[in-house]
Amino acid sequence: MLKLNNISKSFQTDRIETIALSNINLHIEKGEFVSVMGPSGCGKSTLLNIMGLLDQPSEGNVAVDDKAIESYQDKHITGLRNEKIGFIFQSFHLIHDLRVIDNVELPLLYRNISAKERKALAAAALEKVGLKARTHHYPTQLSGGQQQRVAIARAIVGKPEILLADEPTGNLDSHMGDEIMKLLESLHQEEQATIVMVTHDEEMAKRTGRTIRVFDGQLVH
């Protein structure tokens, strides 16, 4: 359902060109739970950003549902991002000026959905991550683990085809990290969610169906 064909990505800063990814070929099947591992700076986040259409590859192409992305123009990819992809970030990226429920609602704001329906879907997503009681709190009133669960609720509220999680437990202690991992596992098992997760933790990687290893911008087998 998600295919990377000969992807390369380089960053041009001042006069230095950093090659973050080179010649990546990857296929994520529907319903898979995949972990991505590798040392810091090897290109894992870059890989995830390209999968999530947040960044444009320098070479190669991404295909979603067997349709190759031809243009990274705003109007061509925002709809795909909104409907097909759910993102979970290491540092949560919640909007502190919005209540939990309004944060979860955000992706739906960019769809044609009535306010009432948005509320209902957001409440359902919060219930799934076990945060129904925190609906009207502000993010800063929550623990890190709870904030990440809000972020997961936001990622799943629009029922995307694939969840991309970039070190979702990286900012959490091991107990909270384990809770997040359990939550992702249950989403995978009970809702057949397709998940790609970057992690530094071998134990967590073992709990996923497949582990991809990245080294210096390349996949190692």
Binding site: S45, H93, D97, L109
Partner: protein, 394 residues
């Protein structure tokens, strides 16, 4: 989406209240400047009511008090001598000169209404020579001599202010509280005589009559010169006057030069003021720009996130500009509540409702444009980042 905007604004009320306060202050400054600019522009557009081309004023400056028996004869001699000069086309008397702030005012209460006006005095044919326009009745004439009333001419503003719905011809505006007061009969209404020049307010203004054959105490002689008059006129006339009545001092000046001087005197402070004002506006605009810019760039993260979640650049722009528009309108409304007191309480006579609304509209357009620009450029920069760059923006 609108509800979402309101929510964002409300939840960011701490930083927004600062912006709103700044917007309200900026709006008041811009409003004050618009009022001044629009008012002066409007006044400048209104006709003077007379022509100043080729007009000259001879001012007699006596060094002793007026002597009933001798000085009227001297004045008549002076008039006669000036009239003889080849370049003189017309000669008249006018008490208070044009383009200067010499003024006489009167205030009377008639039928319970307080009537306040500026006054001046001129002779029968002066109005025609000055190029004034008659709206009703007639000018002064010989039929006004040896009557038991004093004829007066009033300007249109006088009528509009005090007798808007009636004919004023024949009305007596003498002070009824003085016993046996001589009747002051309105014989005509003229359009305007803006003695104080182009930037002066429109005021009720009354002329009384001076008989050029029996002028009494009159110190201002107005002459209309033929076009292309000789430059030597000024000097020659001064010499004649000095020889006729050496006890007086004299000055001669063209209306045009007086007008130039007056415009200079009005525009120099106005220019200085507008320079200060422009700095003020630039400072306000920059301050506002800074605050709003900061407001948007500090949200580069948020913008990146929204884009990652599927917002288009357009919807981000709409959100930023929509938020700013709402915040601006809140600031403007606060300023409005303060400013509306001015015409309501009549704090400044000059600030009537029409000037108020026009200035308000001009200031509103200015502020919304400014806010739009302040929102557009930083928004443009923020949406030019790819979502992943925006998310890692420091």
């Amino acid at each position: 989406m609108f509800l979402h905007l309101l929510k964002m604004i409300w939840n960011r009320k701490r930083s927004n209240s600062l912006i709103i306060a700044e917007l309200a202050i900026a709006f008041i400054v811009v409003f004050a400047l618009s009022v001044l600019a629009i008012r002066n522009y409007n006044l400048y557009q209104i006709p003077l009511g007379y022509n100043y081309e080729n007009m000259w004023r001879i001012q007699i400056m006596p060094t002793r008090s007026w002597d009933e028996t001798k000085d009227e004869d001297t004045l008549l001699q002076i008039i006669g001598a000036v009239k003889q000069q080849p370049e003189v086309e017309k000669i008249h008397l006018l008490s208070n000169p044009t383009f200067r702030n010499w003024r006489g005012t009167s205030s009377v209460t008639i039928d319970g209404q307080e009537i306040y006006y500026y006054r001046n005095r001129f002779d029968d044919k002066a109005a025609e020579t000055f190029g004034m326009t008659l709206n009703d009745g007639r000018w002064f004439g010989p039929q006004d001599s040896n009557q038991n009333y004093s004829p007066v001419l009033v300007n249109q503003e006088f009528v509009d202010m005090y007798y808007p719905n009636e004919s004023v011809i024949g009305k007596n505006i003498a002070d009824p509280e003085i016993e046996d007061n001589r009747e002051m009969r309105i014989v005509g209404v003229y359009q305007a005589f803006r003695q104080f020049g182009e930037f002066s307010a429109i005021v009720p203004y009354v002329f009384t009559r001076s008989d050029i054959q029996k002028p009494g105490r009159m110190l201002g002689i107005e002459v209309k010169l033929k076009p292309n008059a000789d430059d030597s006129f000024e000097q020659r006339v001064l010499e004649i006057l000095k020889s006729l009545a050496p006890e007086n001092n004299y000055s001669i000046a063209s209306w045009e030069s007086q007008r130039d001087r007056q415009i200079r005197e009005t525009t120099i402070p106005l220019t200085i003021f507008s320079i200060i004002a422009s700095f003020l506006i630039i400072m306000v605009a920059m301050g506002l720009f800074g605050v709003l810019w900061q407001n948007v760039t500090s949200r580069t993260h948020e913008i990146g996130l929204r884009r990652a979640l599927g917002a288009t650049a357009l919807s981000i722009h709409k959100q930023i500009i929509g938020e700013l528009a709402i915040v601006t309108m809140i600031g403007v409304s606060i300023a409005f509540l303060i400013l509306v007191q001015l015409p309501m309480l009549g704090v400044f006579q000059e600030l009537d409702w029409s000037l108020f609304w026009i200035s308000l509209l001009a200031s509103l357009v200015f502020m919304l444009t400014l806010a739009g620009l302040c929102g557009y450029y930083p928004g443009k920069i923020a949406t030019n980042y790819s979502p992943s760059e925006a998310l890692h923006y420091e």
